[in-house]
Amino acid sequence: MITTEENIQREIHRRDFLRFMGFVGAGMMVGMGQVSATPMLNFSTPVKAGFSSLALMDDTVKLALNIPSLVQPIKLAINPDIQLPVAGNIARLVGNNSFSVSQWMPIVNGIKSHGLHDPKKNSTLVKQINPLSDGEGALGGDVQRLAVAVGGLIGNVLEKFNVDAKDLADAAKKDAAIMRGISGKMSAITDAELQALLKGIIPRSLTRFHTFIPADNGIAWTQRISKWRIDMETYIAAFAKGYLEDKPDTSFYNSKDPFIIAANSNSTMDTEALLTNKAICKYGEGLKKGLHVLNTLNQYWTNKVTEEIVIKACA
């Protein structure tokens, strides 16, 4: 249905209002002693956060793939290969959300109790994760639902360890510090060269999408996408500036953190042994917590611990 001009503005303001109320509401829920997700990130711009939460999720998954006897459903649900148009691409995107652990667990339990299947396509899991697949078998099915549920659970957990950024430019600067840590020592480059690289990545992403999927209110969506494009330029400029600073901020992401070292290592490390380490930065603390949650979830899947233990791990 097409709304009036006033409705479009109202819609945009309503979304901002809802986000604000989500923040207030979440605070009230915590105050009442109920299990609640942390508030949505709240930059009043279309790009609401940098990629720090994605980096945390990806590294958590890298560590989790070393969990001994990791069950196949969870392994599929957190698959980190972005070349695969399946689960791992989904789990990492859920991030911080407004649903609580007690809302996510029934989804997990439903799949845990009856196993994985793909009712829509009647396709095998092997086909779904075939790297040569063109994605035709990737729609529907429990793997993707489980990916959302695990992504939802872990997304809220990791958000507590996410970077504190006051606005988009600040988030970009902190993302840049993460990339400095990941990249290590490399050759000198200029601001213009770096911005050209980031801007050049965008058409590659859009190519892989085929097309934008508009929101239900398509007219309001045009205004949001217009602002989103401007935001991306703001982000890129701030990222480049932050990346090229002489002394990047390592308070959030410190390459010497044992969990970060383990995530960047190709060798496998015993999960329980790794968890005995002490993190030396907030990002590392997030990895430790995320790994603990996924390790517990894996134990729950094989009935070694109870659901209450999983909920406790997420707290």
Partner: protein, 326 residues
Amino acid sequence: MSFFLSSFLKAKSIVTKRYLMSEHITHIAVCEDIVHLANVMPTVEKSLKQSVAHYPDECQMGSAARGNHIFALPIIEKYRSHWNTPQWNEEAEIAYAFSVGWICHRAADLQMKPIYKVSKSDENPPASKKANRVYHDAVTLHEVYGDGKIPPLSPRIILSTATFEQDMRSLPATKGIDQPNLERLLNGLIQRSLLDQQDFLDDEKDIEKWIAQFLTKQQRLGDNLQWYIDAYQHPVAERTERYVTSMNYYNANDSIIKLARAAQQGNTIPTTEVTNALKTASTESQYAQALERGCRYLEYASQFFRKEIDQAKAEVVIEISMGGGE
């Protein structure tokens, strides 16, 4: 069919027709070439031209979006009474720029989609069943954008040979940053921030419905970029012949394409030449025919703007009512 049922089916098709033709580079290229030609067509409304001139990026993003059949005409209807009044503003122009992009998207879809069935019918298609359009994007990057040397209409779109290159190695910045990891994370940021523009994310409170919406509205990285890199860097002669040459995808000597290139380079193109070229385009390449189709659609959209035809008639002549496209 009732209006509500019709609207429902249209809305549903935004997310269910996922595998139609929709290669990004070709869509933005066809769009900007149509815009260049339409700029000298007196039959195309100034409100449309002005909006695109002010918001070229929005126009090209519209050409890269689904939903043309749902939003393009209602946008024109919504703001047309504002034109030449104080109510005409940035919001209207952004929406109109998107509408033009959406209409151009439809022209490309309806022109190209039938020929994409060729690779789908192949018993053993190379890399994917989408080989047609992968090869078309590779050709378009070279022919329309000179491998990135000719900038797109939107200054925000940056193309180069690195667009379809492994890890973008030819860009100097890749010596100073871990490109694969940067792309992994930036891809995620783009996907996640586009999800943030969706209504359901905050509005849907039922977790099962939320999951269902998430799965259909997330921007999947559905295509493997390697297909495009291979087609662009190392095209296979047999596939080029099959997917590009034999179906006459693009011919730089087509009169309408020559005019589009001239306008792209900043030259003034005479209206009469465009008019004549549009008349002969039906015998030229698929790309030329897509340009003709788009110019024709914009003329009809202009008639709709002037209330010379109603929405039902406009949906027939812009080939919305016949289905297809996305």
